[in-house]
Symmetry: D3
Amino acid sequence: MPTSTVKTFRAERERLNEIVRKYSGQAIKRFISLDGQVYRPGALPAQTKELLGLVASLVLRCDDCIKYHIIRCHEEGVSSAELDEALAVGLVVGGSIVIPHLRRALAAWDELQRS
Amino acid sequence: MPTSTVKTFRAERERLNEIVRKYSGQAIKRFISLDGQVYRPGALPAQTKELLGLVASLVLRCDDCIKYHIIRCHEEGVSSAELDEALAVGLVVGGSIVIPHLRRALAAWDELQRS
Amino acid sequence: MPTSTVKTFRAERERLNEIVRKYSGQAIKRFISLDGQVYRPGALPAQTKELLGLVASLVLRCDDCIKYHIIRCHEEGVSSAELDEALAVGLVVGGSIVIPHLRRALAAWDELQRS
Amino acid sequence: MPTSTVKTFRAERERLNEIVRKYSGQAIKRFISLDGQVYRPGALPAQTKELLGLVASLVLRCDDCIKYHIIRCHEEGVSSAELDEALAVGLVVGGSIVIPHLRRALAAWDELQRS
Amino acid sequence: MPTSTVKTFRAERERLNEIVRKYSGQAIKRFISLDGQVYRPGALPAQTKELLGLVASLVLRCDDCIKYHIIRCHEEGVSSAELDEALAVGLVVGGSIVIPHLRRALAAWDELQRS
Amino acid sequence: MPTSTVKTFRAERERLNEIVRKYSGQAIKRFISLDGQVYRPGALPAQTKELLGLVASLVLRCDDCIKYHIIRCHEEGVSSAELDEALAVGLVVGGSIVIPHLRRALAAWDELQRS
């Protein structure tokens, strides 16, 4: 994705997160904080954690989550060969039902490579 | 959602339901009738049933179903605090994969509050 | 379930939770704490929250989770008529694929009623 | 499965269905009746409908449902070659996550062939 | 769908498949080849295989996959009565959560009938 | 798991795979071969691929698949700290519905550590 596409994706996310914060009590806020925590590097590097998040999102077929992790994988310096192998695991585990999401994942990756 | 948004949502639903009726035999028609029946107040009030439908739709991640139950919860007088707690149950049961749907659920709720 | 069955179910859970605590870091521990928090009574009563957890577990088809919430619903004084209506919502939302879980849910409920 | 295994499976189903009938109101009863209706032969023969139910159960990964449709396919005279091709569609659509269910489906089929 | 709609759907698919081929290694390519193979007529006719793919896609709720199989069913000469009965199986197995996808499936079918 | 438990798990798998081979045509055989291929080390090491398979199996909630990847992670020398962080990603993505599977995953890991 060109920088502007990534910016638009993030701006929309932020707009909606603002609404989430407006209505959510302590439990939802704690969950969202925890969601950020598990991707921080530790015993496993950030790259591996983003690939784990990506493959989990792929087999559960959530386009927004896939796009988010595709951007994060790109930021963490994942290579196209590494991405291909991670997506292959997700495709074989999840089956042909994930193909439409795989197409959109790679279309986003392609934009990021060319930006 | 402003009244017009709710109206548009319902008009599109009705247009598609017309097509469903055109092609569906007795079994699909009976299913749709049953789908209406289970939300009618009985031992449990309509509010609780709509919250059950909402949380089930959230963990199964169906945006159309979520939006429908968000509108119905609003019509039945569910408060923002009650909605937050029901969504928190759905978020914790279903995990971060439901967050994009939670965002859209609360964006719809926000529109309804301000209309 | 007779008291002894509930006790056995809880003892096995506790044995496994001990292993979870042995290997889990802060993130998993925080998640489990949050999982307890969302069912505490607040704007919604505990009964409603347990029914929400039950229906979410039913449509996601997790027998252990269903059994846990069936026991909790019983403890909170949910009636058989209320349970039937909540399960009917879950069955219609989730389809015939949930019927085997519905059978086991009601078998557990039946044991609790007779204990 | 030898006749006795099929009998045991059906007896346990019937025992649990008895409990379902004891606690279920009109909505659950209507759903179960509808569940029987959709497999009756009509524009599509019973064989095809059982294969549809089998593949749907396979990709949704419900062992009880799979076993039920495996028995019904056998009763309707589905051949091993037809079964293999239907399961192949389910495996490719649903991915390697269905393999454990595929193994149990074919183990049941194998028993039925040898009985 | 009018011929032009089918053409647009296929052109977009082909555009994305081009990107998939650009980044995918041998494993993803082999999967996609296998995905084509399982729908070829054999012991079961192509019609039945497309109905199996359609119902699997319906219960797993993938709109792109549903649309693809709706078009293929039309090409293979499936009748509206046969389609209704296959969709009824999918609706009863998968529950009301599939209704939004059923609506879009029948809207696509309606377009194909009128083109 | 003690060596004998792993041996029993593998023996049962092999017994069932024998039945799968007996009934499956070329498509299922090709799928199973592809399933083996995607975990071979390439741009990503075997450890990472096993963790990807484990987290995908966890969020899709397949106990057999989880146990298989837990054993493979142990064979590839994954540490308890790495496992904890991978499971934490799976738990947060997949929600509390995966907790029963997380318990069984860690019980298997605990056996392997002590064998």
